[in-house]
């Protein structure tokens, strides 16, 4: 186990020794600071409370982090093929599945780290500018099952749900990276998944077919359970548990493809 951690250490080194990682880090810090400062300058500090702005900024930064994590997932495996270093990596006394797992873990750790930074920055900067509001109005929608509850519970639940969707999107990108060795495809399709989710679920909900409920896209919009109390498909009522189960199935499927293909394929050219 200590030995396996060394593989993760290696992957971490390859992530954090690259300047681009710190450019990404800069974005995650700067974007919320800029938004808060702009709002404070233009509308004054009474217009919004710290929680509302934190929610807004977090939802933006989460999309950024998803994109960054997908870029890392794409680099992590497809990059090794492009650089040719995969040949040096796979000729060590480690099974291919261990090596792939260490890469997957390092990408998830990257995503967790950036989420933690996002939470810390959005909380701190907004408290610093707008003051701390213990019982904020306008943060939790009336329709939310958490309405009237603590802002901490609400923010915690949003981060959890956003993180779950993010894991699925990153796993999707990782699959393209590991199984198809294409970082472009991995990044492109994952961003498509990230951005077009709500559009496609809107379209899908227009038809009455029952299989719509099993399509991946709508279930990535987990926030709808928290904000409106209902599922992401207006005409097809689903529960949070159902959405999580669907996501879990896709999650397993994506990983199955990644591992099977990566562990079996010949490394040539």
């Amino acid at each position: 186990m200590a030995d396996f951690w060394k593989l993760v250490q290696n992957e971490n080194m390859k992530i954090y020794r690259r300047p681009r990682t710190w450019i990404m880090f800069g974005f995650v810090v700067l974007v919320p600071v800029l938004i808060s400062v702009l709002v404070a300058v233009m509308d004054g500090t009474d217009s919004m409370n710290n929680w509302e702005l934190m929610r807004l900024e977090s939802s933006i930064v989460f999309q950024l982090i998803t994109v960054f994590a997908v870029v890392k997932a794409a680099d992590s495996v497809a990059g090794e093929f492009t650089w040719g270093t995969i040949k040096l990596l796979l000729i060590r006394p480690w099974s291919r599945s261990s090596i792939l797992l260490s890469k997957y873990i390092s990408v998830l750790l990257f995503s967790l780290l950036f989420i933690a930074v996002c939470f810390a920055v959005t909380f701190t900067v907004n408290v610093a500018i707008f003051g701390y509001d213990a019982s904020p109005k306008g943060l939790i929608p009336e329709t939310s099952p958490l309405a009237g509850g603590s802002p901490w519970t609400y923010m915690g639940a949003s981060y959890l749900l956003l993180f779950v969707s993010q894991i699925v999107i990153v796993t999707f990108g990782f699959m393209f990276s590991a199984a198809f060795r294409s970082s472009g495809l991995a990044i492109g399709l994952s961003i498509f998944l990230l951005l077009s989710g709500s559009l496609i679920s809107g379209l899908l909900s227009l038809t009455g077919k029952a299989w719509i409920k099993f399509v991946l896209f709508p279930h990535l919009q987990l926030m709808s359970y928290l904000d409106s109390g209902t599922g992401p498909l207006p005409n097809h009522p689903t529960t949070l548990g159902f959405s999580l189960a669907v996501l879990a199935v896709y999650f397993v499927l994506f990983n199955l493809v990644s591992w099977t293909v990566f562990c079996k394929r010949d490394v040539a050219g």
Binding site: D3, K6, L7, Q9, N10, M13, K14, R17, R18, P19, W83, G84, T85, K87, L88, L89, L90, I91, R92, P93, W94, S95, K264, D266, V267, A268
Partner: protein, 306 residues
């Protein structure tokens, strides 16, 4: 040569689709031996090497390294191997040292002292903390060798190791490989199409063509077989007259202005004596040795890439 071989290829075959890339190749490499793997481009050298180090699967046959099959006991087999497959690609955004740390972490028990020792061995002390993207090809090659020998492998596999090296670098690498084989008993399996280079470096060479092993020969044995009759060239002032003198002395002929006869050592001396006694000026006598290149072309013919 009675030791257990460090590498054994048994009827190794690789098919991709309907094409047979490697066709029933069998060979053994002994510990401490520098074994050359020769073949024209596209003959399957790199494919064979990729199968040896587990980057490609075998269609049939088996490869064992120190007795462990790469198919069933990959981790045991590969832990004895250091390799550079094709170009020594390293992480360009890391320093040379970070690259070595990276690969050191993947093997058990490689100390910091060992990394320093290897760095010194390949002569990269001054630049090891620079980013690899600033390295020249020769320096990358050295770093490639460094990562391959970190864990003191019993078998070093090098694919076209002299690609891109200058003559000094090639010579250095050759000396170093010889040293490894002699001092540490490391077997070196090296592929190349640079025949003259292989001649200087290897104990034995195997020649591969269109996926088939067509010959394995000892380089040393070639040089020793000097007592056999060979083509001998005489550089003389009057080739035609000389040929006349040697009438009855067997098959003499003139090639490029040189008197050429087939003779062993004694006959060569006798011929020289007769020529001198007949007043012919003999400027030089040399054996027409076949270089490995000649032999190689002889064996492979001028076949096109299959």
């Amino acid at each position: 040569m009675s030791q257990a071989p460090i590498v054994r290829l048994q009827e190794v075959t690789k098919r991709i689709g309907s094409r047979t890339i490697i066709d029933r190749v069998s060979l053994d490499v002994q510990p401490g031996e520098v074994f050359g793997f020769l073949g024209p481009n596209g003959s399957g050298k790199t494919t064979t090497i990729r199968m040896m180090v587990g980057l490609m699967s075998l269609t049939s046959g088996d490869i064992t390294i120190a007795g462990h099959s790469v198919k069933t006991a990959f981790r045991q087999a590969i832990s004895r191997v250091g390799a550079i497959v094709e170009n020594p690609e390293m992480y360009k955004f890391l320093t040379g040292y970070q690259n070595l740390v990276h690969f050191a972490r993947m093997n058990p028990a490689i100390t910091k002292a060992r990394i320093d020792e290897v760095v010194e061995l390949v002569g990269l002390q001054k630049r090891i903390h620079d980013k690899v993207k600033k390295y020249s090809l020769g320096m990358r090659q050295r770093l490639g060798v460094a990562q391959a020998i970190l864990h003191r492998p019993s078998l070093l596999v090098l694919d076209e190791p002299t690609n891109g090296l200058d003559p000094a670098g090639i010579r250095e690498l050759r000396d170093y490989l010889r040293l490894l084989a002699r001092e540490e008993g490391t077997a070196v399996f090296v592929s190349s199409h640079l025949l003259s280079e292989m001649e200087l470096m290897c104990d034995r060479v195997a020649i591969l063509q269109q996926g088939k092993l067509i010959d394995i020969r000892s380089i040393g044995a070639q040089a020793e077989s000097s007592s056999a009759a060979e083509e001998v060239l005489f550089e003389v002032d009057q080739p035609d007259a000389a040929l006349g003198i040697l009438e009855g002395q067997g098959a003499g002929r003139i090639v490029d202005g040189l008197l050429t006869i087939t003779a062993d050592r004694d006959l060569t001396a006798a011929v020289n004596r007769r020529l001198v006694e007949a007043g012919i000026r003999v400027y030089g006598i040399r054996k027409k040795t076949k270089s490995l290149e000649d032999q190689f072309l002889e064996v492979t013919g001028s076949d096109t890439i299959g």
